[in-house]
């Protein structure tokens, strides 16, 4: 899992610098936002002079999945002090969440859930920041012939597939894929917003009502 953080982090760093974000701001963004997909998307939007509001809206749509993770993690940390819940919130990343869900399913009554989350979250955080820093320093130095930019969609394939185990979530993913391609002509990557809505609507139509 850690091994996958490195190429994605490096690409994120490279993408931010390549779109004209100053290196120090890119590093600051990585620490403050700490969400690679939204950082790559907004770097591309910033390069095309998109309005601030649209960049923030796109960030909301791409990172809306954290709200679902937050709802799920609440079941495990409801009785933890606020400072611990805030730390969990900040360190929530796709891979940390996936790892924790597996761990908590095996050990539902583990009293050290926070310590476990903190340990895994901090390791991922450090490796991620180091990888982004590496990407920022390399800048455009990666030979284009390696086609490393393709690692970003590949990382998202790996992250998205485990969410498609039920029929309704699979339908949601297929609807989102169709919508994002159909509306590709929309400016400023608004097709992602349309695809998110289409996917959720399709999932609600097909899924169970409970």
């Amino acid at each position: 899992m850690l091994l996958a953080v490195i190429p994605f982090g490096v690409i994120t760093g490279v993408a931010m610098v390549a779109s004209g974000i100053p290196p120090l701001v890119a590093i600051l963004m990585s620490v403050l936002v700490f969400a690679g997909a939204s950082m790559v998307a907004s770097a591309q939007l910033l390069a095309s002079n998109a309005p601030v509001l649209l960049v923030v809206l796109t960030t909301v749509v791409i990172n809306l999945r954290f709200m679902m993770y937050s709802a799920s993690l609440r079941l495990h940390f409801a009785n933890a002090p606020l400072r611990q819940r805030l730390a969990v919130a900040y360190l929530t990343a796709d891979n940390v969440y996936a790892l924790m869900l597996g761990r908590f399913a095996e050990h539902p009554d583990d009293p050290g859930k926070f310590q476990y989350f903190l340990g895994a979250g901090l390791v991922v955080w450090v490796v991620w920041q180091a990888a982004v820093l590496g990407g920022v320093l390399i800048g455009a130095g990666v030979p284009p012939a390696w086609r490393l930019e393709f690692a970003a969609p590949l990382a998202f394939i790996a992250l998205s597939i485990p969410f498609m185990r039920e029929r309704a979530t699979l339908v949601a993913a297929l609807a989102a894929a169709v919508a994002v391609l159909l509306f590709q002509a929309l400016p400023l990557r608004l097709n992602i917003v349309v695809a998110a809505l289409a996917g959720v609507a399709a999932g609600l139509l097909v899924g169970r009502k409970t």
């Binding site: 600051l28 919130a89 998202f156 993913a173």
Partner: protein, 95 residues
């Protein structure tokens, strides 16, 4: 200035989304429809991010199929990236 506003906005909304349910007091809950809708967000949004880069012609499409198969079977992110990149170069050479 635009860059700083963007940075502040992104940091704020991302943390708010992460903290949303975790900081809600125990008694308070959200509408059932909203929670049902949230269930489909990760599959829809994560797919919408990769689909335009993969479901195009040329070598990206077969490389994407290889990556999806690896991810489906083994659920290992690093293996998926390596297999996908290797397949991309193989199909670029082949096609």
């Amino acid at each position: 200035m635009t860059l700083w506003l963007t940075l502040a906005g992104m940091a704020l909304v991302t943390f708010a989304l992460r903290a949303s349910f975790l900081v809600l007091p125990p008694g308070i809950d959200l509408p059932a429809l909203f929670k049902r809708a949230l269930r489909y967000v990760p599959a829809a949004v994560l797919t919408a991010i990769w689909a335009p880069e993969v479901l195009v012609q040329n070598e990206q499409l077969p490389a994407g199929v290889v990556a999806i198969a690896v991810a489906w079977r083994w659920r290992l992110t690093f293996a998926t990236i390596i297999a996908g990149l290797a397949a991309l170069h193989f199909f670029a050479w082949l096609l």
